[in-house]
């Protein structure tokens, strides 16, 4: 068992897959010589050389287009889009081309590719470099969406994403890059579409994703001190979505709270709330509550960003108030 940072786990996961399979290649802005602007790809150029680890121009359409064309002809590319906000400048390739071409060709084409991207807030980068865009990707049929919250999950889910024959959007919470965690020695391979129950309680179920997972866990610890015993689920994968685990745990506690970094409207939690309301409504003991960033562009100032993104304190207050209502 080794202790790795979240950012070191990225390079570890990519290296694990590149050693195993020569068809795995990496491209993106500053991913090679510089080792990534977030230092997520350090050492890969040195180990695998410039044939497999390639710097690109600032051309996001070219990056994703190249990944798509390579994937449909036998490679398994990992493309990095530096900030997920930049999906907006290559959305045609991702949403119109990569996502739909298998369906439109009735299965003639296959796209085994991974689009990695730094996602979310906490770094005071302002409205165009801090967005949580998981719901952008989630709403497009044909894209899988994976969001790890620990270094071990980074390695295992990245390996699963690379080995998957479908396009996977792999979102790395930027605020988690310096966090540390244990990663098992040897090959680590996880399974897409599996949520993880991190803590079991009897009173309420908190369902969280990415950066919100450690905050939900911290909130649950505080709530336990005041007598509210929470289950915490790390969703890990929005598409495919492990509804079985969510429904089971919500049924057991009778209450659902989603903890989402994205702005309010159409966040992934709304879909989870809808499924729970449709399928286990009569097992609920109280209203479904969504804890999200308000429906605003993210501000840059630290004081304002901290007010916007759900904090441990806001999760605790919201859950306690609702449970005591």
């Amino acid at each position: 068992m080794a202790q790795l940072t979240f950012r070191e786990a990225i390079a570890r996961g990519i290296a694990q897959e590149m050693r195993r399979d020569d068809s795995v290649v990496l491209l993106g802005e500053d991913v090679a010589a510089a080792g990534g602007v977030f230092k997520g790809t350090v050492g890969l150029l040195e180990e695998f050389g410039p044939r497999r680890v390639r710097d690109t121009p600032i051309s996001e359409q070219a990056i994703l287009g190249a990944a798509m064309g390579a994937a449909m002809t036998g490679l398994r590319p990992i493309a990095e889009i530096m900030f997920s906000d930049f999906f907006a400048v290559c959305w045609d390739i991702l949403a119109n081309e990569i996502a739909k071409s298998r369906y439109m060709t009735d299965g003639q084409l296959t796209f085994p590719l991974v689009v990695r991207s730094g996602n979310g807030g906490g770094l005071r980068f302002g409205a165009q470099h801090s967005q949580s865009v998981e719901n952008w990707a989630m709403m497009i049929p044909g894209l899988k969406v994976v969001v790890p919250s620990t270094p071990a999950d980074v390695v295992g889910l990245l390996a699963a994403a690379v080995r998957d024959d479908d396009p996977v959007v792999f979102l790395e919470a930027k605020a988690l890059y310096p966090t540390k965690g244990d990663v098992p020695e040897g090959e680590v391979v996880d399974t897409l579409g599996t949520a993880r129950v991190l803590r079991s309680g009897s009173d309420a179920t908190l369902v969280a994703l990415g950066l919100m997972v450690p905050r939900a866990l911290a909130a649950a610890a505080e709530l336990a001190e005041s007598g509210v015993d929470c289950t915490v689920i790390d969703v890990r994968s929005l598409v495919p979505l492990d509804t079985a685990t969510i429904l089971r745990e919500v049924t057991a506690t009778g209450r659902l709270f989603t903890v989402e970094e994205n702005p309010r409207l159409c966040g992934w939690g709304a879909e989870v709330a809808s499924i729970v309301a449709d399928e286990v409504f009569y097992d609920l003991d109280g209203p479904i509550v969504r804890i999200t960033t308000p429906h605003i562009p993210l501000p840059a100032a630290d004081a304002l960003e901290d007010l916007a993104i759900p904090s441990v304190e806001r999760i605790v207050t919201t859950v306690a108030k609702s449970m005591n209502a």
Binding site: P57, Q61, D165, L241
Partner: protein
């Protein structure tokens, strides 16, 4: 302007070029007739008048080379050898369509023939073709990606990203701008900063400006041979501007009335098939041989029409299949 030296093109190749052009012409005319009968729903974009480009390139390509086409892609699909029946059935939305009716006219794809898709968002397929070319380069297969697009495409960002990308990575990709003079309903020169939309941009990517008479299948074939050889030799991409004209409007809904009559007449006089037929006769090919080709193609179109019309409507199994590589569409457990 690249000149043609017709003698270099063998007679067998030229007869094949003629047959392909006639097939594309007759197919598109039938497709148009079927629109008028309301059997083709949605939109469609015909290549009438632009057949020489598709035919010339397809004849020069290796069978494992890749075609990337636009929504005006019927001709490029058929030119690679895809049978008429599944293409026509796809236009008609039938279960025996090339993609089971799920793609339609604008997305014709036949991977087994190297037709890696027809792309309906302007510019998108240029970077995608780069990716295929990168894959060929990486694996050392000497395959080439040939990417066709219209003159309007040179003004969208993806064009610039793809051309630069192909140049810096020396990718085996051939970009072919089919300059049909009109960007949808607007004259291309009214909305483009340079006179030759593709060729005048070539120097920005360190490429030679290549312009070819796109209504001359021999000229196109010769330019294609050179560009494909260059790509296969590892010398990088080419950007070719093929001058042509669409005989009809932009799409099904467009009669093309914005174009001056004299301009249309001048280009009709340069009809690639009429010219090519005359050239073959001049070269000593018998009238009867050309008539036989035309007759055979007509029979093929008739058969395809009958078979396509006989196709069933696709059902729910098609609807919910092949979102994912496992063949299904499930997003939850």
């Amino acid at each position: 302007m690249t000149t043609t030296t017709n003698a270099r093109t063998e007679v067998a190749t030229r007869l094949a070029l003629y047959r392909t052009q006639v097939a594309l012409r007759q197919f598109e005319q039938r497709a148009y007739d079927l629109f008028l009968e309301n059997l083709v729903k949605g939109t469609s974009h015909l290549s009438l008048g632009q057949e020489a480009i598709a035919a010339g390139f397809a004849a020069a390509m290796r069978s494992d080379d890749w075609t990337f086409a636009t929504y005006r892609g019927h001709a490029h699909t058929l030119a690679r050898g895809v049978p008429m029946t599944p293409v026509l059935a796809e236009l008609l939305g039938r279960d025996n369509g090339l993609m089971g009716g799920k793609g339609g006219s604008m997305h014709l794809t036949s991977v087994e023939h190297g037709v890696m898709g027809s792309y309906a968002i302007i510019g998108a397929h240029l970077p995608i073709a780069c990716g295929a070319a990168w894959s060929a380069q990486y694996r050392g297969t000497q395959q080439v990606a040939v990417c066709f697009f219209g003159d309007g495409t040179v003004n969208i960002g993806a064009f610039h990203e793809a051309l630069n990308f192909a140049a810096i990575w020396s990718l085996p990709v051939v970009f072919v701008c089919e300059n049909n003079q009109w960007m949808e309903y607007t004259r291309t020169s009214d909305v483009t900063a340079v006179a030759r939309p593709a060729a005048d941009r070539a120097s920005a990517y360190g490429l030679a400006p290549i312009v070819v008479d796109g209504n001359d299948a021999d000229a196109v074939y010769e330019v294609a041979v050179v560009a494909l050889a260059r790509a296969r030799a590892g010398e990088g991409p080419s950007l070719i501007e093929a001058e042509t004209y669409r005989h009809g409007g932009h799409s099904r809904a467009d009669p093309g009335k914005y174009r001056p009559d004299e301009e249309v007449a001048a280009w009709l006089a340069k009809d690639p098939i009429v010219r090519y037929r005359a050239r073959l006769l001049d070269a000593g090919v018998a009238e009867a041989q050309l008539a036989q080709i035309e007759g055979e193609v007509a029979g093929e179109v008739e058969r395809a029409t009958t078979e396509a019309k006989a196709g069933a409507a696709p059902g729910e199994d098609r609807l919910m299949s092949n979102v994912w590589a496992d063949g299904g569409s499930s997003w939850r457990n």
